[in-house]
Every structure is written in structure tokens, then in C-alpha cells.
């Protein structure tokens, strides 16, 4: 006999058997019999009902309740390098399960800006972290003694404290932190080669998203933003690492650094050797050109930069046709194409992108 006699599906007894059970002198068997008859009736009536339903009604009734998708969450760790020029001996200062924020100011800065960066990519583009697979954001602070730099090493971000004379801590600007994290995003997307024009585009994407991350966190529209990268990192009120609005004017007549060498237009393109000392063909110099194109585009569109211009640039960065060795001209074509697809070929947005590249004299 069926072991699971309480299951109407697994234990469908023929009517002559249930009738016999109901008539039995054993009360328990009678009970099983009547229950089975009742279930059989319901099963048959259900079957009758389903026979009359349309395919759509059946699909609706049979839809299996899906498990709610796991909502992506930010995963972050902050490490203290304790002024060593290595990440090997660094100790965990904070992670996303820590109940409260650390007292360390630099740690607070990287947590704040790192969170804003993650939210920027997730809220606007549905991107889950640097790799879009939920990679834990690892930020290493207090690297080396008086180290005046910040960099992405292929897996994590590393920040120096600055020398305190020319440079403040490299955690003091949201855009610098956003810049470094965006190098990670670029690595997992177009992976633009880090030299010559593709390297300058790699740098420019980091500035473009770095500035938008700051603008969004501070709620600044294109007119309110100063379009400066590293405004606080480079000490002195009148200095910044770079200006996207006026490349070459991040700093002028700086007592130690002299003048900002960035060009704004293609006719001023800087030719340097493809070596470390040549800045890999001037990647931090010539990024001024696509930076300026983006600034003009976003400014002419108005409002918040991330709403339209940022959307177009993100679509370009994640477009499979953007090659590793892309040139400025390639990005021009791609962003105009994307703007035309999103807003129409004769739209103001497509015109703004074209005007932006024209202003930077990129054909």
C-alpha cells in the first residue's frame, strides 16, 4: 500500500477500493477511505478546471514563485600600510561588517568616497562594483613615508599621505578616489592599453567618472561644479591637479611644479616617449583633450552631467566595439553613435557630443 496515504497526488486509490475502505468496520480505515474519496473528487475537479483554461491562464497559475534576486551590496575593506612601501604587511583597519567608522581621517575619507563611487555605478548603471561581479573594494592607506601619489595596482587602490608641503593626503578629494576606482572599471571593460592615445583615454575616463562621482555626492550640476580634479590634494587655494574645464590651468606658476602641461585641443597634442619617464607617451598630459570634449558636451547638455553625458560615456566604456588601442577619434565616433541611438541623430544631445569633440579639435 502507498506509504504516503495522506498525499492526494501520490496516493490515488481506485473508487472500488475507497468504497470498500469507507464500508470497513475499522474506523481508521473508514476515515482513510472518505478522505481519499474527497481528495480524488477535488483532484478530478481541478483537472476539469484546468482543461477549460487558456494557455495564458495556465502559465499564470503554474508560475513558480521565483526566489527574490539577491540584492547586491557594497563590500569594502580598508587596510593600513603603516608607512611601509608595500601592501604585504598591511593590517585591516575597517571592513563593511565593522559596527562603527574608524577614527582615522584617511580611512573615513576612503570609506565615504568609496561608498559614493560604488553607489554611483550601481544606482545609475546597475553595476555591482569594479568588476560588476561584486568585487570587494580594497583601499590601502598610509602607504610609504610622505608618499605623494595614489594608484590602482590592478586589484586595489593605494593612497599616500602626501609630503605635507606640496601635497596633502591623497584621500582628501572624492574625485581622486573615484578616479582610481574607475581605473578598475576600465580594466574590466574596455581595458584600454596604458600608453599613447588609448592610455590618455584610460586616464580621461577616470577623470570623467571621478568628477561625476564628486558632483553627484555633492549634488552639483554642470554649472555649479568647478570641474577640478584634486583640488584639495594639491595644496594652495589656487591649485588643483587638473582642470577639465580649462586643461593646462590646474596650476600655473606653482613654486615647485611650474605650469600644468595639459593640452585642451588636438593641435597641442604632446608627443613623449612610450616609457615610464615619458608618462607612457603622455597619458596624463593628453587626457586633457578628451576631458575637455566631455566637459563641453556635458556643459552644453546642462543639468547633472551623469544624466546624459555620463550615460553616453559609460555606454562607450562598456561597448564591446571600443578596442584596447582606441584613439580619440574612435571615441568621438562611438559617443556620437551612442548619443544618436539613445536620443536621435538630430537630437540636441548628439549635437552636444559632436560640438564637444569639435571644441577639442578631435576629428
Amino acid at each position: 500500500m502507498c506509504k504516503n496515504h495522506f498525499s492526494p497526488v501520490q496516493c490515488i486509490l481506485p473508487p472500488y477500493m475507497t468504497d470498500q475502505l469507507v464500508d470497513s468496520d475499522d474506523k481508521n480505515l473508514s476515515k482513510i477511505g472518505i478522505n481519499s474519496k474527497f481528495r480524488n473528487f477535488r483532484f478530478r475537479s481541478d483537472r476539469e478546471f484546468f482543461k477549460e483554461t487558456s494557455t495564458k491562464e495556465q502559465a499564470l497559475l503554474c508560475a513558480v514563485a521565483k526566489k527574490p534576486a539577491k540584492v547586491p551590496v557594497l563590500k569594502m575593506e580598508v587596510y593600513n600600510c603603516k608607512k611601509q612601501a608595500s601592501t604585504t604587511g598591511a593590517t585591516v583597519l575597517w571592513n563593511d561588517t565593522s559596527p562603527k567608522l574608524p577614527a582615522d581621517k584617511d580611512a573615513k575619507n576612503v570609506i565615504y568616497a568609496g561608498t559614493g563611487t560604488w553607489k554611483f555605478y550601481f544606482d545609475l548603471f546597475g553595476r555591482n562594483s569594479v568588476d560588476n561581479l561584486g568585487l570587494t573594494i580594497q583601499q590601502y592607506i598610509h602607504y610609504d613615508k610622505k608618499y605623494d601619489n595614489a594608484f590602482w595596482d590592478g586589484r586595489r587602490m593605494i593612497f599616500g599621505d602626501g609630503d605635507g608641503i606640496i601635497f596633502d593626503s591623497f584621500t582628501t578629494d572624492i574625485d581622486v578616489i573615484g578616479h582610481e576606482l574607475t581605473h578598475g572599471v576600465t580594466q574590466y571593460e574596455a581595458n584600454l592599453e596604458y600608453h599613447l592615445q588609448s592610455g590618455a583615454l584610460n586616464e580621461s575616463f577616470s577623470d570623467v567618472f571621478g568628477i561625476m562621482i564628486k558632483q553627484r555626492m555633492l549634488n552639483l550640476d554642470v554649472k555649479q561644479s568647478d570641474w577640478l580634479i584634486g583640488d584639495n590634494v594639491l595644496l594652495g587655494k589656487e591649485y588643483a591637479l587638473r582642470s577639465m574645464k580649462a586643461p593646462g590651468n590646474g596650476y600655473r606658476n606653482h613654486p615647485q611644479l611650474g605650469d600644468d602641461p595639459q593640452p585642451a585641443t588636438m593641435d597641442e597634442f604632446v608627443k613623449l616617449p612610450d616609457t615610464s619617464s615619458g608618462d607612457w607617451g603622455g597619458v596624463h598630459y593628453n587626457s586633457g583633450i578628451p576631458n575637455f570634449a566631455f566637459y563641453v558636451t556635458a556643459y552644453n547638455m546642462g543639468g547633472f552631467a551623469w544624466e546624459k553625458a555620463g550615460k553616453i560615456w559609460y555606454a562607450a566604456l562598456t561597448d564591446k566595439t571600443l578596442k584596447k588601442n582606441a584613439t580619440f577619434s574612435d571615441l568621438r565616433k562611438l559617443t556620437i553613435k551612442i548619443a544618436s541611438t539613445l536620443y536621435g541623430a538630430k537630437s540636441l544631445e548628439a549635437k552636444a557630443v559632436t560640438d564637444g569633440w569639435n571644441a577639442a579639435k578631435v576629428n
Binding site: A85, F151, W152, H195, L234, Q256, S276, D279
Partner: protein
Amino acid sequence: MLITLTRTGGIIPITKQAETEVDWTDKEMKELIKLVKDEEGPGQKRDATGYELKYEGETVPINLEKVPPCYKHVFEDLKDKMKVVKK
């Protein structure tokens, strides 16, 4: 022998330099260079800084993490003394 340590690269490309006199023999220098020579390109590093060592007309990219302990203090002193080269 006069040696010059130069740092290049970074989120804004600045050049920093420092020099010092050392009493290393040519043989010693050759062995040191063999150990610390850095021939890697940027790889996946972005905005990173790099170091070069100049000695007797030669300039070699080096990795400071590979410097043997007995020479560490010389390079640490050079790093501390580095000044920005104004362009």
C-alpha cells in the same frame, strides 16, 4: 661613484630626483643592477610611480622592493632627499 635616483609617473606626472656618492665597485654595481632591474611595463598598474637609477652614464629602471637589505639604507636616504624637478 655618483648615483642618481629618479622617480617618475604618478597621478600627475612629476619627476623627483636625488643623488649621492657611493663607494661601490663596478662589480658590486653590476650585481646590484642584476637584482633590482625592473623591465616590466605598466601592466595593470595605473598612476603608479617608477624609479630609475643613473650611474656612470647608464640609466636603468629599478624596483626598490628588490633592493637587498645591505643597500636599503642608501635608497631610503635617497628617497627621503628627493626633490621635484621643475619643468
